[in-house]
Protein backbone atom coordinates (compact mmCIF):
# COMPACT_ATOMS: atom_id res chain seq x y z
CA UNK A 1 0.00 0.00 0.00
CA UNK A 2 1.43 3.35 -1.02
CA UNK A 3 0.45 6.81 0.16
CA UNK A 4 1.48 9.51 -2.28
CA UNK A 5 1.22 13.23 -1.60
CA UNK A 6 2.78 15.39 -4.30
CA UNK A 7 6.42 14.31 -4.71
CA UNK A 8 6.36 12.37 -1.43
CA UNK A 9 5.44 8.76 -1.05
CA UNK A 10 5.42 6.40 1.90
CA UNK A 11 5.08 2.65 1.69
CA UNK A 12 2.91 0.93 4.27
CA UNK A 13 2.18 -2.71 4.82
CA UNK A 14 -1.50 -3.12 5.82
CA UNK A 15 -0.78 -6.04 8.09
CA UNK A 16 2.03 -4.20 9.87
CA UNK A 17 -0.25 -1.18 10.33
CA UNK A 18 -3.05 -3.32 11.75
CA UNK A 19 -0.64 -5.10 14.09
CA UNK A 20 0.77 -1.76 15.19
CA UNK A 21 -2.70 -0.37 15.88
CA UNK A 22 -3.68 -3.46 17.88
CA UNK A 23 -0.46 -3.37 19.90
CA UNK A 24 -1.01 0.31 20.63
CA UNK A 25 -4.54 -0.49 21.76
CA UNK A 26 -3.22 -3.31 23.94
CA UNK A 27 -0.66 -0.96 25.50
CA UNK A 28 -3.38 1.57 26.33
CA UNK A 29 -5.67 -1.13 27.74
CA UNK A 30 -2.95 -2.62 29.94
CA UNK A 31 -1.96 0.83 31.16
CA UNK A 32 -5.56 1.66 32.08
CA UNK A 33 -6.01 -1.61 33.96
CA UNK A 34 -2.66 -1.26 35.72
CA UNK A 35 -3.36 2.31 36.80
CA UNK A 36 -6.99 2.04 37.80
CA UNK A 37 -7.16 -1.37 39.48
CA UNK A 38 -5.29 -3.00 42.32
CA UNK A 39 -5.61 -2.93 46.08
CA UNK A 40 -7.24 0.45 45.77
CA UNK A 41 -9.51 0.86 42.74
CA UNK A 42 -9.58 4.23 41.03
CA UNK A 43 -12.38 4.50 38.43
CA UNK A 44 -11.16 5.59 35.01
CA UNK A 45 -12.70 9.12 35.12
CA UNK A 46 -10.96 9.68 38.47
CA UNK A 47 -7.67 8.49 36.95
CA UNK A 48 -7.87 11.19 34.32
CA UNK A 49 -8.79 13.79 36.94
CA UNK A 50 -5.87 12.70 39.13
CA UNK A 51 -3.43 12.86 36.24
CA UNK A 52 -4.31 16.50 35.51
CA UNK A 53 -4.21 17.32 39.23
CA UNK A 54 -7.96 17.60 39.84
CA UNK A 55 -8.57 14.38 41.80
CA UNK A 56 -8.73 13.59 45.49
CA UNK A 57 -5.36 13.65 47.29
CA UNK A 58 -5.45 9.85 47.77
CA UNK A 59 -6.23 9.20 44.14
CA UNK A 60 -3.52 11.63 43.06
CA UNK A 61 -0.94 9.91 45.26
CA UNK A 62 -1.81 6.46 43.98
CA UNK A 63 -2.27 7.34 40.33
CA UNK A 64 0.20 10.11 39.62
CA UNK A 65 2.95 9.18 42.08
CA UNK A 66 2.80 5.39 42.35
CA UNK A 67 1.11 3.68 39.44
CA UNK A 68 1.50 5.98 36.42
CA UNK A 69 5.30 6.34 36.58
CA UNK A 70 5.66 2.59 36.98
CA UNK A 71 3.51 1.94 33.90
CA UNK A 72 5.27 4.63 31.89
CA UNK A 73 8.69 3.27 32.87
CA UNK A 74 7.50 -0.19 31.86
CA UNK A 75 6.31 1.00 28.45
CA UNK A 76 9.52 2.91 27.75
CA UNK A 77 11.90 0.22 29.00
CA UNK A 78 9.96 -2.43 27.08
CA UNK A 79 10.20 -0.36 23.90
CA UNK A 80 13.93 0.17 24.45
CA UNK A 81 14.54 -3.55 24.91
CA UNK A 82 12.39 -4.33 21.86
CA UNK A 83 14.27 -1.97 19.53
CA UNK A 84 17.65 -2.93 20.96
CA UNK A 85 16.88 -6.62 20.37
CA UNK A 86 15.64 -5.88 16.85
CA UNK A 87 18.82 -3.97 15.99
CA UNK A 88 21.18 -6.70 17.18
CA UNK A 89 19.13 -9.54 15.71
CA UNK A 90 19.21 -7.71 12.40
CA UNK A 91 22.96 -7.03 12.59
CA UNK A 92 23.79 -10.64 13.42
CA UNK A 93 20.99 -12.07 11.24
CA UNK A 94 20.34 -14.30 14.20
CA UNK A 95 17.69 -14.34 16.97
CA UNK A 96 20.50 -15.39 19.34
CA UNK A 97 22.18 -12.06 18.62
CA UNK A 98 20.01 -10.49 21.35
CA UNK A 99 21.77 -8.46 24.06
CA UNK A 100 20.67 -11.10 26.63
CA UNK A 101 22.93 -13.62 24.90
CA UNK A 102 25.89 -11.62 23.67
CA UNK A 103 26.94 -10.31 27.04
CA UNK A 104 25.60 -6.75 26.97
CA UNK A 105 22.93 -7.38 29.62
CA UNK A 106 25.36 -9.42 31.70
CA UNK A 107 27.92 -6.60 31.48
CA UNK A 108 25.28 -4.13 32.63
CA UNK A 109 24.55 -6.48 35.54
CA UNK A 110 28.22 -6.55 36.49
CA UNK A 111 28.26 -2.76 36.56
CA UNK A 112 25.10 -2.69 38.67
CA UNK A 113 26.37 -5.28 41.18
CA UNK A 114 29.68 -3.45 41.55
CA UNK A 115 27.74 -0.27 42.36
CA UNK A 116 25.59 -2.11 44.93
CA UNK A 117 28.64 -3.71 46.57
CA UNK A 118 30.38 -0.34 46.69
CA UNK A 119 27.37 0.93 48.60
CA UNK A 120 26.25 3.23 45.82
CA UNK A 121 22.88 4.95 45.59
CA UNK A 122 20.14 3.89 43.20
CA UNK A 123 21.51 6.45 40.77
CA UNK A 124 24.99 4.93 41.04
CA UNK A 125 23.53 1.49 40.30
CA UNK A 126 21.86 2.86 37.16
CA UNK A 127 25.08 4.56 36.12
CA UNK A 128 27.05 1.38 36.82
CA UNK A 129 24.65 -0.61 34.64
CA UNK A 130 24.92 1.84 31.76
CA UNK A 131 28.72 1.93 32.01
CA UNK A 132 28.93 -1.88 32.28
CA UNK A 133 26.81 -2.28 29.17
CA UNK A 134 28.84 0.18 27.10
CA UNK A 135 32.22 -1.21 28.19
CA UNK A 136 31.14 -4.79 27.46
CA UNK A 137 29.84 -3.78 24.06
CA UNK A 138 33.11 -2.03 23.20
CA UNK A 139 35.11 -5.10 24.21
CA UNK A 140 32.86 -7.56 22.36
CA UNK A 141 32.73 -5.40 19.25
CA UNK A 142 36.47 -4.83 19.36
CA UNK A 143 37.24 -8.54 19.68
CA UNK A 144 34.78 -9.48 16.94
CA UNK A 145 36.18 -6.87 14.53
CA UNK A 146 38.20 -8.22 11.65
CA UNK A 147 37.79 -6.42 8.34
CA UNK A 148 34.33 -5.41 9.54
CA UNK A 149 32.15 -7.37 11.89
CA UNK A 150 30.60 -10.64 10.78
CA UNK A 151 27.34 -11.54 12.54
CA UNK A 152 28.42 -14.99 13.65
CA UNK A 153 31.70 -13.67 15.07
CA UNK A 154 29.79 -11.11 17.12
CA UNK A 155 27.47 -13.85 18.43
CA UNK A 156 30.34 -16.23 19.27
CA UNK A 157 32.49 -13.61 20.97
CA UNK A 158 29.39 -12.29 22.74
CA UNK A 159 28.41 -15.73 24.05
CA UNK A 160 31.95 -16.13 25.41
CA UNK A 161 31.81 -12.73 27.08
CA UNK A 162 28.37 -13.56 28.45
CA UNK A 163 29.61 -16.76 30.13
CA UNK A 164 32.61 -14.94 31.57
CA UNK A 165 30.51 -12.08 32.94
CA UNK A 166 27.92 -14.41 34.47
CA UNK A 167 30.77 -16.10 36.32
CA UNK A 168 32.05 -12.72 37.48
CA UNK A 169 28.54 -11.78 38.62
CA UNK A 170 28.18 -15.00 40.65
CA UNK A 171 31.60 -14.44 42.18
CA UNK A 172 30.71 -10.88 43.16
CA UNK A 173 27.49 -12.06 44.78
CA UNK A 174 29.24 -14.76 46.81
CA UNK A 175 31.84 -12.27 48.03
CA UNK A 176 29.31 -9.54 48.92
CA UNK A 177 27.86 -9.20 52.40
CA UNK A 178 24.42 -10.71 52.84
CA UNK A 179 22.48 -7.45 52.59
CA UNK A 180 24.25 -6.27 49.47
CA UNK A 181 23.82 -9.70 47.94
CA UNK A 182 20.09 -9.62 48.61
CA UNK A 183 19.77 -6.11 47.13
CA UNK A 184 21.82 -7.06 44.09
CA UNK A 185 19.92 -10.34 43.69
CA UNK A 186 16.58 -8.53 43.61
CA UNK A 187 17.92 -5.97 41.14
CA UNK A 188 19.34 -8.75 38.93
CA UNK A 189 15.91 -10.27 38.27
CA UNK A 190 14.73 -6.97 36.88
CA UNK A 191 11.87 -5.10 38.48
CA UNK A 192 9.60 -2.11 37.94
CA UNK A 193 8.53 -2.00 41.55
CA UNK A 194 8.83 1.45 43.10
CA UNK A 195 9.75 3.19 39.84
CA UNK A 196 8.90 6.88 39.94
CA UNK A 197 9.12 9.76 37.52
CA UNK A 198 12.83 10.05 38.32
CA UNK A 199 13.23 6.73 36.47
CA UNK A 200 10.73 7.39 33.69
CA UNK A 201 12.00 10.82 32.66
CA UNK A 202 15.64 9.88 31.85
CA UNK A 203 14.45 6.88 29.81
CA UNK A 204 11.96 9.10 27.98
CA UNK A 205 14.67 11.63 27.15
CA UNK A 206 17.04 8.91 25.93
CA UNK A 207 14.32 7.36 23.76
CA UNK A 208 13.42 10.76 22.32
CA UNK A 209 16.91 10.82 20.81
CA UNK A 210 17.54 7.12 20.13
CA UNK A 211 14.22 6.09 18.58
CA UNK A 212 14.40 8.57 15.67
CA UNK A 213 17.97 7.45 15.01
CA UNK A 214 16.74 3.85 15.03
CA UNK A 215 13.93 4.75 12.63
CA UNK A 216 16.41 6.31 10.19
CA UNK A 217 18.59 3.18 10.37
CA UNK A 218 15.73 0.75 9.84
CA UNK A 219 15.79 0.70 6.03
CA UNK A 220 19.57 0.40 5.54
CA UNK A 221 19.66 -2.29 8.26
CA UNK A 222 17.07 -4.30 6.36
CA UNK A 223 19.26 -4.09 3.25
CA UNK A 224 22.36 -5.21 5.16
CA UNK A 225 20.47 -8.36 6.18
CA UNK A 226 20.94 -9.50 2.56
CA UNK A 227 24.71 -9.44 2.91
CA UNK A 228 27.35 -6.71 2.90
CA UNK A 229 27.98 -6.84 -0.85
CA UNK A 230 24.29 -6.70 -1.72
CA UNK A 231 23.86 -3.69 0.58
CA UNK A 232 26.93 -1.89 -0.77
CA UNK A 233 25.72 -2.55 -4.31
CA UNK A 234 22.60 -0.45 -3.68
CA UNK A 235 24.70 2.33 -2.20
CA UNK A 236 24.72 1.74 1.56
CA UNK A 237 27.78 2.68 3.62
CA UNK A 238 27.69 -0.65 5.43
CA UNK A 239 30.31 -0.05 8.13
CA UNK A 240 28.95 3.39 8.94
CA UNK A 241 25.36 2.19 9.30
CA UNK A 242 26.53 -0.77 11.36
CA UNK A 243 28.56 1.38 13.74
CA UNK A 244 25.64 3.78 14.21
CA UNK A 245 23.30 0.84 14.84
CA UNK A 246 25.62 -0.71 17.41
CA UNK A 247 25.93 2.56 19.31
CA UNK A 248 22.16 3.09 19.26
CA UNK A 249 21.45 -0.50 20.33
CA UNK A 250 23.99 -0.47 23.15
CA UNK A 251 22.70 2.83 24.55
CA UNK A 252 19.11 1.55 24.41
CA UNK A 253 20.15 -1.60 26.27
CA UNK A 254 22.14 0.37 28.84
CA UNK A 255 19.36 2.87 29.49
CA UNK A 256 16.77 0.11 29.84
CA UNK A 257 18.87 -1.92 32.27
CA UNK A 258 19.71 1.21 34.24
CA UNK A 259 16.00 1.88 34.73
CA UNK A 260 14.60 -1.59 35.37
CA UNK A 261 17.50 -3.97 35.89
CA UNK A 262 18.47 -6.73 33.47
CA UNK A 263 14.98 -7.94 32.56
CA UNK A 264 15.44 -11.04 30.44
CA UNK A 265 13.73 -12.16 27.28
CA UNK A 266 12.01 -8.97 26.09
CA UNK A 267 14.87 -8.11 23.72
CA UNK A 268 14.88 -11.67 22.38
CA UNK A 269 11.14 -12.24 22.12
CA UNK A 270 9.71 -8.85 21.10
CA UNK A 271 11.31 -8.69 17.61
CA UNK A 272 10.50 -12.33 16.91
CA UNK A 273 6.88 -11.97 18.06
CA UNK A 274 6.50 -8.74 16.10
CA UNK A 275 7.90 -10.30 12.95
CA UNK A 276 5.52 -13.21 13.12
CA UNK A 277 2.50 -11.02 13.74
CA UNK A 278 3.32 -8.55 10.96
CA UNK A 279 4.58 -11.28 8.61
CA UNK A 280 7.20 -8.82 7.47
CA UNK A 281 10.55 -9.94 6.11
CA UNK A 282 13.40 -9.66 8.56
CA UNK A 283 13.33 -7.56 11.68
CA UNK A 284 11.15 -4.48 12.07
CA UNK A 285 11.97 -1.78 14.59
CA UNK A 286 8.62 0.00 15.09
CA UNK A 287 6.56 -3.10 15.78
CA UNK A 288 9.38 -4.49 17.95
CA UNK A 289 9.19 -1.34 20.07
CA UNK A 290 5.43 -1.65 20.52
CA UNK A 291 5.66 -5.37 21.19
CA UNK A 292 8.37 -4.81 23.80
CA UNK A 293 6.27 -2.17 25.55
CA UNK A 294 3.21 -4.41 25.66
CA UNK A 295 5.20 -7.47 26.70
CA UNK A 296 6.86 -5.72 29.63
CA UNK A 297 3.73 -3.95 30.94
CA UNK A 298 1.59 -7.08 30.65
CA UNK A 299 4.28 -9.03 32.47
CA UNK A 300 4.51 -6.40 35.18
CA UNK A 301 0.76 -6.45 35.67
CA UNK A 302 0.85 -10.22 35.96
CA UNK A 303 3.82 -10.02 38.34
CA UNK A 304 1.83 -7.74 40.64
CA UNK A 305 -1.53 -9.52 40.50
CA UNK A 306 -1.09 -13.24 39.80
CA UNK A 307 0.12 -14.26 43.25
CA UNK A 308 -1.13 -11.16 45.12
CA UNK A 309 -0.38 -10.15 47.77
CA UNK A 310 3.00 -11.69 46.89
CA UNK A 311 4.75 -9.38 44.41
CA UNK A 312 6.96 -11.06 41.83
CA UNK A 313 9.78 -9.24 40.06
CA UNK A 314 8.78 -8.65 36.45
CA UNK A 315 11.82 -10.53 35.10
CA UNK A 316 10.34 -13.80 36.37
CA UNK A 317 7.19 -13.24 34.36
CA UNK A 318 8.67 -11.92 31.08
CA UNK A 319 10.44 -15.21 30.53
CA UNK A 320 7.29 -17.21 31.30
CA UNK A 321 4.85 -15.16 29.19
CA UNK A 322 7.21 -14.38 26.31
CA UNK A 323 8.50 -17.93 26.12
CA UNK A 324 5.06 -19.50 26.10
CA UNK A 325 3.75 -17.11 23.47
CA UNK A 326 6.81 -17.58 21.25
CA UNK A 327 6.52 -21.36 21.51
CA UNK A 328 2.85 -21.06 20.53
CA UNK A 329 3.67 -18.93 17.48
CA UNK A 330 6.58 -21.14 16.40
CA UNK A 331 4.34 -24.18 16.55
CA UNK A 332 2.08 -22.86 13.79
CA UNK A 333 4.93 -21.15 11.99
CA UNK A 334 5.10 -20.82 8.26
CA UNK A 335 7.46 -17.88 8.13
Amino acid sequence: MTVRVGPWSVRLAPRALLTGALLLLAAVAVSVVAISTGEFTVPVPDVLAALVGEGTPVAELIVAELRAPRVVTGLLVGAAFGVCGAIFQSLTRNPLGSPDFIGFTAGASTGGILAVVAGGSALAVSGGALAGCVITALLVYGMAFRRGVQGYRLVLVGIGANALLLAVNSYLLTRANINDAATAGAWLTGSLSGRGWEHAVPVALALAVLLPVGAALARPLRMIEMGDDAARAVGIGVERVRAAAVVTGVLLCGVAVAAAGPVVFVALAAPQLARRLTRSAGVTLASSALMGAVLLTVSDLAAQRLLAPTQLPVGVVTAAIGGTYLAFLLRKDRY
Binding site: V10, E225, M226, A281
Partner: protein, 267 residues
Protein backbone atom coordinates in the same frame (compact mmCIF):
# COMPACT_ATOMS: atom_id res chain seq x y z
CA UNK B 1 41.51 3.43 -21.91
CA UNK B 2 40.37 6.61 -20.18
CA UNK B 3 37.49 7.00 -22.62
CA UNK B 4 35.68 3.97 -21.17
CA UNK B 5 33.04 4.73 -18.53
CA UNK B 6 34.50 2.10 -16.21
CA UNK B 7 38.18 1.27 -15.93
CA UNK B 8 40.79 0.39 -13.34
CA UNK B 9 44.37 1.58 -13.56
CA UNK B 10 47.51 0.27 -11.83
CA UNK B 11 45.44 -1.80 -9.44
CA UNK B 12 47.03 -3.73 -6.62
CA UNK B 13 44.35 -5.95 -5.18
CA UNK B 14 44.82 -7.73 -1.86
CA UNK B 15 42.97 -9.31 1.03
CA UNK B 16 44.86 -8.55 4.24
CA UNK B 17 48.37 -9.83 3.51
CA UNK B 18 47.54 -11.91 0.45
CA UNK B 19 48.20 -9.95 -2.74
CA UNK B 20 45.98 -11.20 -5.56
CA UNK B 21 47.01 -8.90 -8.39
CA UNK B 22 49.49 -6.11 -9.08
CA UNK B 23 49.74 -3.45 -11.78
CA UNK B 24 46.44 -4.48 -13.26
CA UNK B 25 45.00 -2.26 -16.00
CA UNK B 26 41.51 -3.08 -17.21
CA UNK B 27 38.98 -1.09 -19.20
CA UNK B 28 35.39 -2.19 -19.78
CA UNK B 29 34.33 -1.15 -23.32
CA UNK B 30 31.09 0.79 -23.21
CA UNK B 31 28.00 -1.20 -24.23
CA UNK B 32 30.00 -4.43 -24.33
CA UNK B 33 29.11 -7.76 -22.80
CA UNK B 34 32.48 -8.31 -21.15
CA UNK B 35 33.24 -11.71 -19.65
CA UNK B 36 36.17 -12.23 -17.29
CA UNK B 37 37.51 -15.75 -17.34
CA UNK B 38 40.46 -17.70 -15.96
CA UNK B 39 41.37 -20.65 -13.75
CA UNK B 40 40.37 -20.81 -10.07
CA UNK B 41 42.11 -18.24 -7.87
CA UNK B 42 43.29 -16.16 -10.85
CA UNK B 43 41.72 -13.05 -9.31
CA UNK B 44 38.74 -12.68 -11.63
CA UNK B 45 36.14 -12.29 -8.90
CA UNK B 46 38.51 -10.04 -6.97
CA UNK B 47 38.83 -7.80 -10.03
CA UNK B 48 35.05 -7.68 -10.42
CA UNK B 49 34.64 -6.80 -6.73
CA UNK B 50 37.18 -4.00 -7.12
CA UNK B 51 35.35 -2.65 -10.19
CA UNK B 52 32.15 -2.69 -8.14
CA UNK B 53 33.89 -0.80 -5.24
CA UNK B 54 33.36 -3.81 -2.89
CA UNK B 55 37.12 -4.05 -2.44
CA UNK B 56 39.33 -1.00 -2.07
CA UNK B 57 42.48 -1.36 -4.21
CA UNK B 58 45.71 -1.07 -2.22
CA UNK B 59 47.16 1.10 -4.97
CA UNK B 60 45.68 2.49 -8.16
CA UNK B 61 42.02 3.34 -8.59
CA UNK B 62 38.83 2.35 -10.33
CA UNK B 63 37.28 5.18 -12.34
CA UNK B 64 33.63 5.62 -13.21
CA UNK B 65 32.68 8.35 -15.68
CA UNK B 66 36.00 10.06 -15.14
CA UNK B 67 35.90 10.15 -11.31
CA UNK B 68 37.59 7.87 -8.81
CA UNK B 69 34.73 5.57 -7.87
CA UNK B 70 35.31 5.72 -4.11
CA UNK B 71 35.19 9.54 -4.24
CA UNK B 72 31.63 9.47 -5.57
CA UNK B 73 28.69 9.16 -3.14
CA UNK B 74 27.87 5.46 -2.87
CA UNK B 75 24.18 6.01 -3.67
CA UNK B 76 25.16 8.00 -6.77
CA UNK B 77 27.36 5.11 -7.94
CA UNK B 78 24.49 2.72 -7.27
CA UNK B 79 22.33 4.59 -9.77
CA UNK B 80 24.92 4.00 -12.51
CA UNK B 81 26.51 0.67 -11.63
CA UNK B 82 24.78 -2.43 -10.27
CA UNK B 83 26.21 -5.67 -8.92
CA UNK B 84 24.82 -9.16 -8.60
CA UNK B 85 27.04 -10.58 -5.81
CA UNK B 86 28.16 -14.20 -5.84
CA UNK B 87 26.02 -15.01 -2.83
CA UNK B 88 23.40 -12.99 -1.03
CA UNK B 89 21.22 -13.90 1.92
CA UNK B 90 17.47 -14.23 1.41
CA UNK B 91 15.75 -12.48 4.33
CA UNK B 92 13.34 -14.78 6.18
CA UNK B 93 9.83 -14.73 4.82
CA UNK B 94 10.40 -12.15 2.07
CA UNK B 95 8.22 -12.26 -1.05
CA UNK B 96 9.55 -12.01 -4.60
CA UNK B 97 7.98 -8.60 -5.24
CA UNK B 98 9.36 -7.29 -1.95
CA UNK B 99 12.89 -8.47 -2.69
CA UNK B 100 12.89 -7.11 -6.24
CA UNK B 101 11.65 -3.74 -5.03
CA UNK B 102 14.67 -3.47 -2.71
CA UNK B 103 16.72 -2.84 -5.85
CA UNK B 104 15.14 0.61 -5.93
CA UNK B 105 16.91 1.71 -2.75
CA UNK B 106 19.40 4.08 -4.45
CA UNK B 107 16.49 5.91 -6.11
CA UNK B 108 14.56 6.36 -2.88
CA UNK B 109 14.62 8.68 0.09
CA UNK B 110 12.97 8.55 3.49
CA UNK B 111 10.10 10.68 2.23
CA UNK B 112 10.09 9.28 -1.30
CA UNK B 113 9.83 5.57 -0.65
CA UNK B 114 7.81 4.41 -3.62
CA UNK B 115 7.44 6.64 -6.65
CA UNK B 116 5.68 5.65 -9.86
CA UNK B 117 9.11 5.25 -11.46
CA UNK B 118 9.95 2.70 -8.73
CA UNK B 119 6.80 0.78 -9.48
CA UNK B 120 7.40 0.81 -13.24
CA UNK B 121 11.01 -0.34 -12.84
CA UNK B 122 10.04 -3.25 -10.60
CA UNK B 123 7.24 -4.35 -12.91
CA UNK B 124 9.59 -4.22 -15.90
CA UNK B 125 12.40 -6.06 -14.07
CA UNK B 126 10.04 -8.86 -13.07
CA UNK B 127 8.69 -9.10 -16.60
CA UNK B 128 12.17 -9.25 -18.14
CA UNK B 129 13.27 -12.04 -15.80
CA UNK B 130 9.94 -13.83 -16.08
CA UNK B 131 9.17 -13.83 -12.36
CA UNK B 132 5.93 -11.81 -12.51
CA UNK B 133 3.92 -14.97 -11.86
CA UNK B 134 5.96 -15.61 -8.72
CA UNK B 135 5.57 -12.12 -7.27
CA UNK B 136 3.63 -13.18 -4.15
CA UNK B 137 5.67 -16.32 -3.47
CA UNK B 138 8.14 -16.58 -0.60
CA UNK B 139 11.67 -16.48 -2.07
CA UNK B 140 12.92 -19.25 0.28
CA UNK B 141 10.44 -21.66 -1.28
CA UNK B 142 11.65 -21.19 -4.86
CA UNK B 143 14.02 -23.42 -6.83
CA UNK B 144 17.63 -22.35 -7.35
CA UNK B 145 16.99 -21.20 -10.92
CA UNK B 146 13.94 -19.17 -9.97
CA UNK B 147 15.79 -17.63 -7.03
CA UNK B 148 18.69 -16.53 -9.25
CA UNK B 149 16.21 -14.91 -11.63
CA UNK B 150 14.72 -13.04 -8.66
CA UNK B 151 18.15 -11.73 -7.59
CA UNK B 152 18.78 -10.70 -11.18
CA UNK B 153 15.42 -8.92 -11.21
CA UNK B 154 16.45 -7.01 -8.10
CA UNK B 155 19.68 -5.90 -9.82
CA UNK B 156 17.68 -4.92 -12.93
CA UNK B 157 15.19 -2.90 -10.91
CA UNK B 158 18.15 -0.75 -9.92
CA UNK B 159 18.11 0.43 -13.58
CA UNK B 160 21.85 0.97 -13.91
CA UNK B 161 23.46 1.38 -17.33
CA UNK B 162 26.34 -0.82 -16.12
CA UNK B 163 25.68 -4.19 -14.48
CA UNK B 164 28.33 -6.45 -12.94
CA UNK B 165 27.57 -10.13 -12.35
CA UNK B 166 29.76 -12.37 -10.17
CA UNK B 167 29.38 -15.97 -11.38
CA UNK B 168 25.66 -15.63 -12.14
CA UNK B 169 25.38 -19.24 -13.32
CA UNK B 170 26.95 -21.05 -10.36
CA UNK B 171 24.71 -23.69 -8.74
CA UNK B 172 22.38 -23.74 -11.74
CA UNK B 173 21.79 -26.70 -14.02
CA UNK B 174 22.68 -26.33 -17.69
CA UNK B 175 19.20 -25.27 -18.83
CA UNK B 176 18.99 -22.58 -16.18
CA UNK B 177 22.54 -21.44 -16.97
CA UNK B 178 21.58 -20.86 -20.59
CA UNK B 179 18.36 -19.16 -19.51
CA UNK B 180 20.27 -16.68 -17.33
CA UNK B 181 22.89 -16.04 -20.03
CA UNK B 182 20.23 -15.51 -22.71
CA UNK B 183 18.63 -13.00 -20.40
CA UNK B 184 21.99 -11.26 -20.00
CA UNK B 185 22.38 -11.18 -23.79
CA UNK B 186 18.94 -9.56 -24.07
CA UNK B 187 19.94 -6.94 -21.51
CA UNK B 188 23.11 -6.25 -23.43
CA UNK B 189 21.19 -5.87 -26.67
CA UNK B 190 18.86 -3.44 -24.93
CA UNK B 191 21.88 -1.17 -24.46
CA UNK B 192 23.45 -2.02 -21.12
CA UNK B 193 27.11 -2.60 -20.40
CA UNK B 194 27.48 -6.01 -18.78
CA UNK B 195 30.50 -7.49 -17.01
CA UNK B 196 30.29 -11.10 -15.86
CA UNK B 197 32.66 -13.56 -14.25
CA UNK B 198 32.03 -17.00 -15.74
CA UNK B 199 33.60 -20.43 -15.28
CA UNK B 200 32.64 -22.03 -18.55
CA UNK B 201 34.95 -21.01 -21.39
CA UNK B 202 32.53 -22.13 -24.10
CA UNK B 203 29.70 -20.11 -22.64
CA UNK B 204 32.07 -17.15 -22.32
CA UNK B 205 32.99 -17.43 -26.02
CA UNK B 206 29.38 -17.70 -27.03
CA UNK B 207 28.03 -14.73 -25.11
CA UNK B 208 30.91 -12.30 -24.68
CA UNK B 209 31.54 -9.44 -27.08
CA UNK B 210 34.73 -8.73 -25.16
CA UNK B 211 36.73 -11.35 -23.30
CA UNK B 212 39.23 -10.69 -20.50
CA UNK B 213 41.41 -13.74 -19.86
CA UNK B 214 43.28 -13.79 -16.54
CA UNK B 215 45.90 -15.92 -14.87
CA UNK B 216 47.78 -15.31 -11.60
CA UNK B 217 46.34 -11.84 -11.21
CA UNK B 218 47.39 -10.71 -14.68
CA UNK B 219 45.39 -10.09 -17.83
CA UNK B 220 46.82 -12.56 -20.37
CA UNK B 221 44.62 -11.64 -23.32
CA UNK B 222 41.60 -9.55 -24.12
CA UNK B 223 39.40 -8.85 -27.09
CA UNK B 224 36.76 -10.49 -29.27
CA UNK B 225 36.64 -14.20 -28.33
CA UNK B 226 36.87 -15.15 -32.02
CA UNK B 227 40.23 -13.43 -32.21
CA UNK B 228 41.82 -14.20 -28.87
CA UNK B 229 40.81 -17.77 -28.10
CA UNK B 230 43.42 -20.14 -29.52
CA UNK B 231 44.66 -23.58 -28.42
CA UNK B 232 47.92 -21.92 -27.30
CA UNK B 233 46.08 -19.43 -25.10
CA UNK B 234 43.94 -22.13 -23.49
CA UNK B 235 47.01 -24.23 -22.77
CA UNK B 236 48.90 -21.25 -21.37
CA UNK B 237 46.04 -20.13 -19.13
CA UNK B 238 44.35 -23.36 -18.08
CA UNK B 239 47.19 -25.89 -18.62
CA UNK B 240 44.79 -27.76 -20.86
CA UNK B 241 45.56 -29.11 -24.31
CA UNK B 242 42.61 -28.72 -26.61
CA UNK B 243 41.30 -28.39 -30.10
CA UNK B 244 39.15 -25.44 -31.09
CA UNK B 245 36.29 -25.86 -33.50
CA UNK B 246 33.48 -23.55 -34.49
CA UNK B 247 30.33 -23.76 -32.39
CA UNK B 248 27.76 -25.03 -34.94
CA UNK B 249 25.03 -22.99 -33.26
CA UNK B 250 26.67 -19.62 -32.74
CA UNK B 251 29.78 -19.61 -34.91
CA UNK B 252 31.94 -18.80 -31.88
CA UNK B 253 35.01 -20.78 -30.73
CA UNK B 254 34.22 -24.09 -29.05
CA UNK B 255 36.90 -25.68 -26.89
CA UNK B 256 37.19 -29.44 -27.12
CA UNK B 257 39.65 -30.72 -24.50
CA UNK B 258 42.12 -33.30 -25.70
CA UNK B 259 41.21 -36.82 -24.69
CA UNK B 260 43.93 -38.60 -22.73
CA UNK B 261 43.37 -41.92 -24.47
CA UNK B 262 42.20 -42.46 -28.00
CA UNK B 263 38.65 -43.72 -27.81
CA UNK B 264 38.23 -46.99 -29.59
CA UNK B 265 35.73 -46.45 -32.34
CA UNK B 266 32.34 -48.04 -31.62
CA UNK B 267 32.07 -51.53 -32.97
Amino acid sequence: MADARLYGSDLTLAYDQRVVATELNVAIPDRSFTVIIGPNACGKSTLLRALARMLKPRTGAVHLDGSVITALPSKEVARRLGLLPQSSIVPDGITVADLVSRGRYPHQRLMRQWSRADEAAVTEAMRATDVTELSDRIVDELSGGQRQRVWLAMALAQETPILLLDEPTTFLDIAHQIEVLDLCADLHEAGRTLVAVLHDLNQACRYATHLIVMRDGQVVAEGDPREVVTPELVERVFDLRCEIITDPQSGTPLIVPEHRRRVSSPA
